[in-house]
Symmetry: D2
Subunit: 348 residues, 4 copies
Amino acid sequence: MFVRINQSATSEQIAAIRSRATEAGLAVYEEPSARGLTLALLGPKGFDEKLGEQIAALPGVNAVARPSRAYRLSSQEFREEPTVVKVRDTVVGGGSLTLMAGPCSIESREQLFEVAAGVAAAGATLLRGGAFKPRSSPYAFQGLGLEGLRLLAEARERTGLPIITEVMEPAQVDMVAEFADVLQIGTRNMQNFSLLNAVGRTRMPVMLKRGLSGTIEEWLLAAEYILAAGNRQVILCERGIRTFETAARNTLDLNAVPILRRLTHLPVIVDPSHATGKRWMVAPMSYAGVAAGADGIMVEVHPKPEEAWSDGEQSLTLPMFSRLAGELRTIHSVVSPLHENPGEALGR
Amino acid sequence: MFVRINQSATSEQIAAIRSRATEAGLAVYEEPSARGLTLALLGPKGFDEKLGEQIAALPGVNAVARPSRAYRLSSQEFREEPTVVKVRDTVVGGGSLTLMAGPCSIESREQLFEVAAGVAAAGATLLRGGAFKPRSSPYAFQGLGLEGLRLLAEARERTGLPIITEVMEPAQVDMVAEFADVLQIGTRNMQNFSLLNAVGRTRMPVMLKRGLSGTIEEWLLAAEYILAAGNRQVILCERGIRTFETAARNTLDLNAVPILRRLTHLPVIVDPSHATGKRWMVAPMSYAGVAAGADGIMVEVHPKPEEAWSDGEQSLTLPMFSRLAGELRTIHSVVSPLHENPGEALGR
Amino acid sequence: MFVRINQSATSEQIAAIRSRATEAGLAVYEEPSARGLTLALLGPKGFDEKLGEQIAALPGVNAVARPSRAYRLSSQEFREEPTVVKVRDTVVGGGSLTLMAGPCSIESREQLFEVAAGVAAAGATLLRGGAFKPRSSPYAFQGLGLEGLRLLAEARERTGLPIITEVMEPAQVDMVAEFADVLQIGTRNMQNFSLLNAVGRTRMPVMLKRGLSGTIEEWLLAAEYILAAGNRQVILCERGIRTFETAARNTLDLNAVPILRRLTHLPVIVDPSHATGKRWMVAPMSYAGVAAGADGIMVEVHPKPEEAWSDGEQSLTLPMFSRLAGELRTIHSVVSPLHENPGEALGR
Amino acid sequence: MFVRINQSATSEQIAAIRSRATEAGLAVYEEPSARGLTLALLGPKGFDEKLGEQIAALPGVNAVARPSRAYRLSSQEFREEPTVVKVRDTVVGGGSLTLMAGPCSIESREQLFEVAAGVAAAGATLLRGGAFKPRSSPYAFQGLGLEGLRLLAEARERTGLPIITEVMEPAQVDMVAEFADVLQIGTRNMQNFSLLNAVGRTRMPVMLKRGLSGTIEEWLLAAEYILAAGNRQVILCERGIRTFETAARNTLDLNAVPILRRLTHLPVIVDPSHATGKRWMVAPMSYAGVAAGADGIMVEVHPKPEEAWSDGEQSLTLPMFSRLAGELRTIHSVVSPLHENPGEALGR
């Protein structure tokens, strides 16, 4: 249940509420906001009417609300203000435009550094790059691993860009966390609950990609695993879903952007590279993603896409990214005010 | 096959090419362009190498090309320049921004005229309204029929807006064509081939909605039925596809917009009302559609959505539409130049 | 609403109930059964509580029930006993095993008669054959048309097999009905409501194929169009749905078989030829369809599949069909008792 | 590449072939069969024509074949005979009928032992039961964990049934392997490559469930991870895919059964409980699965489904399972010969 605390409540009163919840076997999560503190009291059982009444009667409690969604901490019922994820000197969410760019796989020092310098110059806000690569076939290139992480850290030194990279299993989390600024959970692992728990325990920013057949509700429940483990720094990334249409690799589901804006406080990034699989679709779908209200995009960039070890067909060149970054800043400056002040009349 | 004619070819030479094709049992379609005339010679059999060589050898022939797609007349291989569909004093395509708006169903003179006047004042370029309604249940309201068509014509008189309305069966085509400026083929009829043939024989503008599970190739082949029947005035409308996700009514497939821009010369409209089923999603998905490069949008507008006889949940009010129309003009003015001049470097 | 009539009700009482419904603007449908007569009183509005009470109070009325499904006449709430569709000397449904077989398209007298004789000898119960073919491309072979219908009728003369063939538009219904024993509505026309109305007015057996993305509820509502138009002779045919999987042409949804058995009284046929697109999958999926409880199968058979003008890859040869027919009779004899007497304990 | 070895090849010759492959950086896998030994030489790069020719020229080599599929060891190109997985005193595959049954979650000693005794008496061949449960929500019951494993082992002692249970992360593999006879990889983990590698290193039987949106090719590539890690004891389990249809929980894709029979040598189990989510669908879909050619089924059984902690709606009672087991043995005895001897004529 959600418990709204009176502005005037004393810390003793709050402690009493917490201990009543703990007695009842519930975990307690706090959410301070301008309008006061909210507590989420969560456990394996559903809403307990009687306990709700008891807690509502405690001093310092303004109101008790029953969650209407299966996800709790990721819901706007718990937190209304958008979550802004701080990543070194940049932020994701809160009206900013995030541009994550870099190669699909880290292939070599030269390749990574050339891309890193180029995307930094073009105004990227984070550098992406895969060191551990999930590949459908066991015989495909699986990434440079630890060496890739070291190269990423070096690229950060050179460019100042924070880095985001994928982590694939719980046992890797500590190692990847040592190097990365944002941990990425890939689409195949959206419901790898052990991994979600593991990154939830790090308190580091995590970007959770939507599964190929993940519903929006399942996606928010997956985010909930991370939040419930104690980590509120979660970014969602729409990267296309699997449908009957085969003209592009996947179907970018931009409906998800306004739906998430209504359901959750977490920031939303769009990845048009994986959603389309085609270089010439990246720019128009990036425009569309930003126009739909996304907090930014993640795109793949390679100095020579035709020589890329993976996903070359969808990688932008550096000049393409440079032009795109400028275009997106322009579009964002136009649409951002529309989203921030939708007005009652628009029903938004 | 496609036959590029020399600029210097005489009309006798062209006539000879046509008659050679006719002898071979092929239908002949002409496409004049700034760079000269192209003929499409089409028949039930595949490309005939020998006939191709014979025609390539005829005087006046520049080159013979084998189609690489199953659709022919709707392909950019046949026509490179965008098709601009003229509808009374307005156009669809060619860099313009089309705003089709109006009620889902025509319910009464008052309702229609109030919406028509409102959307005209807000800058809509076409008035939509359903007189014949395809409904999943035989017991649901099926539209006002002929009376609805008469009201639409009257609304056109009053506002000057051309009208678009759905036609559901071949036997209705003449009657609807008498009143409408654009014939709409609904999503359930995308592969109603008899109906496609019937509207193809009218030579009137036709808007073909994508089927719920229609691939882009099937959609272009459906358009091909209309073009092959002699009607080049075809507009495509993306209105959402059916996927596993149930958070919105359908999944708006904006990937389709850049894909169609690459494959066909026909203009593309996006319908966010049916694709989402939710009023509060219409504005962001309209932004996204225009940003992706669509030639315009079709939205449902109702004076009192909560009282609508059908689809009230997705209808905008008049003030909402008025605001949205202005926003879309702004976004279009920003993104339109990006799409018109993509540049080699962007691979677009 | 559904009105159960007392066994002892007089015809005057029934007439009074009917006229009360007619006054209220409702259409009246009768369903006699061993346990007495049921009336369905149906109109565009939802259940009218007050009218329901008034009718419940009329003499001769046993009970008034509110429909729980959007479809009414096709629901088991209206009719519990399985509908058995009589087609000349054979029946579809009611525990029999229907084997519909024949060529995809009728190509020639020789081809059709060879297949017809062969499948008759093997024990087919109906002959299928396409005279009007819905084809994705306007340039593909569209069927022999009227000539094909005449050949079908001749094949029926020779073999005694009743014939089933597709009708594609309302204006064709009379012509096709003159020749066919069962009118087939193809998958692309599942929601071609004008066509459903037209075949509903014929009172002839109709087989309604499921649309590629038709939900089971939409499918039953499509059947409802035919029933509401006055035709109760409806057979449903599951022929595969469109999903992300491309290893076969479509995904045969056998879940639909037990679901339909629970929701409707209409018989269910399975078409493994179109659902798989591959000859070597037809036998195992036919076994599975019959095992799941279908009333029969429809398969494509061609004397020389490699020379077929359409769908050769999925056609069985005559020896294959002959063997399959025997196998299915064996499987049916084993599973049919399991389905007919599921027992309380199985929850079926 | 695949290398067929001459029957007369000496062990020195084989050793020379192996060392040539190792020099070239390829891993070597052996497959002995009645017709002789086959080697698979596999590495990250594609087929090397030149190396292929060199190896073809080595003494003892009969032929070198280029794989036509992305999966190699799971393909029939590598091994033609069906893989029979030995699990204690029972087998999966090879013409036997496997019946895996038990509760969704292990809830208590009493619940598990009652089910275990009941399904053993009814002829189940394996006992299933979840100790670690993947749950969409972090607040749902996550299983009894280690205690559950201990109860499973005790149930095996009492009934003699081998046990299958899910493992969710690499770090759990050793612990689960200590108790289980078959390790189950759940649908959400089909592409959890770290986990696939981990169970691949155990050399224990593994049952790999298909992902909700996993294509058949991706599924076989996931199996390939396990095989490539050295474990050939892999069972595949079709458990429904995600489609637009919501009448059942998922869409059981029985097309997959004949497709897998053609592509792979691995045994295939069908899980109608998860694929339908409804008790009354379990029996008909089990019939259909066995009829389609599956090697067996996995079903959920609970003494009191209405009190189950998870998935009660889909659990059979013990009497239901008992009846179903008998029915499936009958159906299997009828269809098994049809699948084993398909005959050239049927193209199967």
